[in-house]
């Protein structure tokens, strides 16, 4: 808390400083004078284009048209593939653009700029996602959110007069695809030479269906594959006001994001049942799809130039994430008595606070350094949802006596980098990062990672460019209580790779040789190595090697060509050592503190866990 208070004060001072700078700002000694308007000499790249063509694509019998067209639409026919219309004068400029007109991946955009006054732009962008053109399903999708199977098919399967595979062969094939349509509008108005006001509206609609799974039991489970309906819309609003002059800047902004799903519930028939049963399962399953959520953020940032070629910037944001969707009953199975809900709506709210403070300085011409402190806190204030009795797959009521686990996290990151450039083309950098993460409801509640790095960059020479970096990182966390893993049915020796102890090294370099200006050869080499020293089960190491070699040839402005060969190898594992000595003698472990999720619950338990001695192969 002390840290937060201090850093907030620092940030506010900086912002105030930035704002104050406008009063005392010394404008450029030379007054701004507008030149007489004249014709523009723009030729390249502002070229008007109208690209009309005829396209045809042939697919072989073993080809996959859906994968080929995963994010595009290359159907046969005429195309107006590219349209560009520009007009540029010394006072304004507009452009209109269109791509793939009339196809699923079409895009339209336009912008207008009145130089120094207003910039406005609009874009409509369609992104298709084509999964399959040969999907067959017993499910009828005609009612949004309800996937039904013909009763006679259900009866036949339940009575074993019809095989599921046989039923599928007569199911109609259809295209399985979604499409994301995004409309974005942006306006930036320059109210004064130092103040900009910006507005952004983005609306994203996604519709279609994609592959999904639903199940009705644990033992001998039927896992149904189905096309889950997708019909949701996200509206993002953003507005900001920014002051900037030669001494600093200050910015206030609001960003809101509102997600609305038109299909929040999925009801799907059980292909193996035609009637609800308290033991054999339900006739339908029901799951909650994506709920309506909101996120609102207010942020303030500022920067100030300081003596000694230095600069300080600060950023603070406070936001809220919420989800108050109505909750479904525990089960749709009418043969079961659905347990009472702890509350009727999700009633979820999380406060998000972020800060970012940066100081950079170049006190002497050859030395530059920066220090940054970043904090991110997601404080989930949701009251845990009590689940005394739950329902597995709508088949049976089971005693659970658990609560939901509203996950929270706080990240503190400190970065420091220093670059030494003895000559202008060369920079040697050394850097250090320390990141601490506090989290709730995970088996490792706190991790600390230290990363050191060095790099060398040889740039700016016409014939040679070399960049290389080496990083070494070490992450350690609070000890894991195997009892907690046992309690949730996991292997007690398992460690979750994203929060477990980790040692990692990374080296990468890229070299570009340009013997003549038209021709260059490039190569890159990267090695990465991660080891998880405390892990017996799960990911134990993760290595990668990446090499590339290529060339570029640019004989002129209109023609360029290149070829690159890349090789990548990723190795994860290895599996549990092939020769090991199992010692089944029980080891008594005593856990005196098993606090999960900051609930303050402390228990003392004594259990016996099998220990395992390992020897390497």
């Amino acid at each position: 808390m002390r840290t937060k208070s201090l850093t907030m004060v620092v940030a506010l001072l900086l912002i105030a400083g930035g704002a104050a700078a406008q009063n005392g700002a010394t404008p450029p000694a030379q007054p701004d004078v507008t030149k007489p308007e004249g014709s523009s000499s723009t030729e390249f790249p502002l070229v008007n284009v109208l690209d009309i063509a005829v396209r045809g694509t042939s697919f072989g019998s073993d080809s996959d048209p859906a994968r080929f067209q995963r994010y595009r639409d290359v159907r046969d026919g005429g195309t107006l593939d590219r349209f560009r219309l520009f007009k540029d004068t010394n006072t304004y400029r507009y452009n209109l653009q269109a791509d793939h007109i009339g196809y699923r991946d079409q895009r339209y955009s336009g912008s207008y700029t009145n130089y120094g006054k207003v910039k406005a732009s609009f874009e409509w962008n369609q992104i298709p996602l084509y999964y399959s053109g040969s999907t067959r399903s017993l499910y009828d999708q005609s009612t949004p959110g309800t996937l039904s199977i013909n009763d006679s098919v259900q009866s036949g399967i339940q009575n074993k007069t019809l095989a599921l595979g046989t039923a599928l062969t007569v199911a109609p094939a259809f295209d399985l695809r979604t499409r994301r349509d995004t409309a974005t509008g942006t306006v930036v108005y320059s109210a004064t030479p130092t103040v900009d006001v910006g507005f952004t509206v983005r609306n994203t609609q996604k519709q279609g269906a994609y592959p999904w799974g639903g199940s009705f039991g644990i033992s001998n489970a039927i896992a149904s594959e189905m096309p889950v309906p997708v019909d949701h819309r996200t509206t993002d609003l953003g507005t900001s006001i920014e002051f900037s002059n030669g001494r600093g800047y200050a910015r206030l902004a609001y960003d809101g994001s509102f997600f609305r799903n038109n299909v929040t519930t999925l009801v799907f028939d059980n292909p193996g049942r035609v009637s609800d049963s308290p033991t054999a399962g339900p006739v339908q399953g029901r799951m909650a799809l994506w709920p309506n959520t909101e996120m609102n953020t207010v942020s303030a940032s500022g920067g100030l130039k300081l003596p000694g070629h230095s600069r300080a910037t600060a950023y603070i944001s406070v936001g809220n994430m919420s989800n108050n969707a109505a909750l479904l009953p525990f089960t749709i199975n009418t043969a079961l008595v659905s347990p009472a809900l702890d509350r009727p709506t999700a009633d979820i709210s999380a406060r998000v606070t972020a800060m970012n403070y940066l100081f950079t300085s170049r006190p002497v011409n050859t030395v530059w350094f920066s220090a940054r402190y970043r904090q991110y806190e997601m404080d989930n204030r949701t009251v845990p949802f009590k689940v005394s009795n739950s329902v597995n797959y709508d088949t049976a009521i089971v005693a659970l006596n658990q609560s939901s686990e509203p996950f929270s996290q706080t990240r503190h990151t400190f970065d420091a980098d220093a670059t030494y450039s003895p000559v202008r083309h060369v920079g040697f950098r050394a850097g250090y990062t320390r990141e601490e993460v506090d989290r709730t409801y995970r088996i490792v509640e706190n991790t600390t990672e230290d990363i050191g790095r060095v790099s060398v960059d040889l740039t700016g020479l016409p014939f040679l460019s070399v960049r290389g970096v080496f990083e070494h990182g070490k992450r350690r966390g609070t000890p894991v209580d195997g009892l907690e893993l046992l309690a949730i049915g996991e292997q007690p020796l398992l460690r979750q790779f994203d929060i477990s102890d980790r040692d990692q090294d990374r080296f990468s370099t890229i070299i570009v040789v340009t013997p003549v200006s038209q021709f260059s050869v490039n190569t890159s080499i990267s090695f990465g190595r991660q080891e998880y020293p405390g892990t017996t089960f799960g990911l134990r190491n993760n290595d990668n090697q990446v090499y590339s070699l290529g060339f570029d040839y640019v004989p002129g402005d209109k023609v360029s060509m290149g070829l690159t060969y890349g090789f990548e190898k990723y190795t994860a594992g290895p599996p549990i050592p092939c020769r090991r000595t199992r010692s089944r003698s029980s080891t008594t472990r005593r856990s005196s503190s098993t606090t999960r999720g900051g609930t303050g619950r402390t228990t003392a338990r004594t259990v016996s866990t099998p220990s395992m001695r390992r020897s390497t192969c």
């Binding site: 029901r286 909650a288 909750l327 300085s361």
Partner: protein, 331 residues
Amino acid sequence: MLKRSDGYPASRLVTVLAIVWGLAVGLAAAGSRPAVPNPTQAPAAAPALASSPTPAAQATGFVGDDTCTTCHEPQGKAMHATLHGKAQNTRTPAAKANQSCESCHGPGQAHVDSGDKTKIKRFTALSAKDVNAACLTCHTRSSHADFEGGMHSARNVSCATCHSVHSPKSERAQLKTVTAVETCQTCHKQEAMKVKKSGHMPVREGKMDCTTCHTPHGSNNVRMLKTGNTLNEMCASCHAEKRGPFLHDHAAGRENCASCHDPHGSNNDRMLVAKDPMLCQRCHVSSRHPATIYDGTQIAAASNRAIGRSCVNCHSQIHGSNHPAGEKFLR
């Protein structure tokens, strides 16, 4: 046992940094070298609608555009075709009447008098930091304000590494290449190759580019991400349905999308960093599921834990569930 974190001792941190900075500035002052003329600093008095510099400007060494374009006509024309040449915008170099060239290149009198190339600021002969300092004199807003301290700044990347003032090739942002992807992949070879993999975002189809997610100038987010404060917030800016928060969150996903997904691309479905079920088995070896790798025998037996989408055949709400019985992400 490691101590549970309650934050950095910020006061100590700030104190140490202030001392270091003060010492450095002191050293700089003590050993100050001859100052390089600041090309972006305009003369004390400027001409109004004049085609030649005033005596005051001449006194400070400025010669005016007309003199510059006598020898550098192509560069002058090219510059005036770009945004820098739009005099109506009072923030542009062109708004400085007859001194648009010298706004960036500095006073040219010495260069004109001697014909010596070293007597004027040539950006090809400057260090990356000097180039950046010149550009950032005017480009002080939006993401430009975050450039200093960003990763590119730390790695000796200058504005002129990616942008061209006189001969840009892109439709926007005055890049040296036609597209932003081409510019980025000059250095980021590994990421560029990942985009070519079967599981990828629609970058190679032209529906997105690197700048859809990243802001190359710097940002408040990690990895120079464009929006939000964390990688997850960036991902959720498009995948808002997975943003939550949910009644039952998958904590690993809530913490970092990149634990399971590689946003640049992979050869696995849904850009997963490893194939399912092995990916899930990195963290979950449950009593209800075999603690072995699901091998060919499992696939031959059509185990619903191995075929299709594997674990997410049943745990389909893996990003989080809003169902009261969704603690295992089944509903």
